[in-house]
Symmetry: C2
Subunit: 255 residues, 2 copies
């Protein structure tokens, strides 16, 4: 199925290992036979990989089903903890959500894509938990645009080249020039806006966390479009957002 191994410079057996992991992630646990069928591999091959994974606790066997193990959680938390900005921002993001009574997020970026690393919704209508740990395009939401706006031009274009500008809703910016204009606006304004560009019904504003001239992350306030109106943003939310970001940047510098 996924025969994108036109490589020679990486390791095939690793690719099959990752394919197994990916498959287990999608299926939330599966048997050897099912995996072998799905990935078009011999049962014995899959089995040997699973034994290796199990020995390192990346996979657990339960009732003859294999599923991903808590070792991934350990590693994942370790990676998150390496981001100083997470520790600097966490409590302040909590406070921001409490003050505004909307959802607040911390987004970091890696390799030209964004990821939600932390979020709270004091008004807990939705299970926002499912959003944490997901990748997002930088061009299609306020946090991403806040980050892009403060990256060097050549980095922005290399990101566009690599990932393109796929549309998430009919409001997504899919044109290069339009995006660059928007980024200039964001720089002037100090914060970015998201008018249902990635999720219908959702409005959001975001501002970047900058250290040593580089945007390492962005903080977002997000909420239903009817609550997060343009005037509320101008009158109240934008100010609170910028205050929060200032606090976070300060804490990044001073322990």
């Amino acid at each position: 199925m996924e025969n994108r191994d036109i490589d020679g410079r990486s390791i095939k057996s690793d690719e099959t290992l990752f394919a197994i992991i990916e498959c287990l992630k999608r299926t939330n646990g599966a048997g050897v036979t099912e995996l072998a069928d799905r990935l078009d591999l011999a049962k014995s091959t899959v089995h040997k990989h699973l034994v290796a994974l199990e020995r390192h606790r990346y996979v657990v066997k339960e009732d003859g089903q294999y599923r991903l193990g808590l070792q991934f959680f350990t590693a994942g938390i370790h990676v998150r903890n390496q981001y100083e900005v997470y520790h600097a921002a966490k409590n302040r993001v909590d406070r921001l959500a409490a003050e505004t009574n909307e959802a607040a997020w911390l987004i970091v970026h890696e390799n030209g894509m964004g990821m939600f690393v932390y979020g709270v919704a004091h008004n807990e209508a939705f299970t926002f938990d499912s959003t944490i740990g997901t990748w997002v395009y930088l061009h299609a939401n306020s946090a991403g645009k806040a980050i892009l706006a403060h990256l060097p031009d050549e980095e922005v274009s290399s990101i566009i080249d690599r990932h393109g500008l796929p549309a998430q809703t009919e409001n997504t910016i899919t044109d290069r020039e339009t995006l660059l204009d928007e980024l200039a606006e964001v720089r002037d304004r100090g914060y970015a806006m998201n008018a249902q560009e990635d999720l219908r019904g959702l409005h959001a504003i975001a501002s970047p966390v900058i250290t040593d001239g580089r945007p390492v992350a962005a903080v977002t306030i997000a909420g239903a479009a009817n609550r997060v109106t343009e005037e509320r943003i101008e009158d109240d939310l934008s100010e609170r957002l910028l205050e929060a970001v200032d606090d976070i940047e300060l804490r990044l510098v001073y322990g």
Copy 2:
């Protein structure tokens, strides 16, 4: 160094892959040469594995250094989200911490070991964040004992056989019979106690979350030994703990 590949039933190349990951975890990022030296492998070998890891975003290259990437976070959060008990318990654990003004934790177990999946310290003296995602022995803390107390006897002994009863402090129970007696007590009392058995200066109580007769997790209240006294436990904390666990068990059954 770690030549424990007396296997034949698993895959050697996977073992080196995991060794690389483990090494990157410990060093918080390293170069090809450093990894090759440390693991006693050829540079080219390490490099090819890194290319594979990088393609799948499990590793990122930054300033010629490789470090673990956010894909681990994605996978880790995914694993956590598979535990229904996490979603059922999160808010209630928050409330428990707020009520008692101590730290509260959710611990799950896998393969005879426990792991902190969630925790809050309303009294935020310590950076408890570093505890999340770490493995703990079940015999050496209150949460683990709460879980063990409600597992079938044969499962308990197989766990002891597999992991032993290593001492964490001078108060750790290291004797099989003593442990089994303690577990019987825990069953009677309804909650387990931790009198500086894994961490000096720390007192804790814990009670298991049971569904379908199986303990899937445990909830803990933990705090400095001088604050979490025996009489406060009896007068107040134990009751609040058991209430919280009841609520969680209910929420596990009803949506």
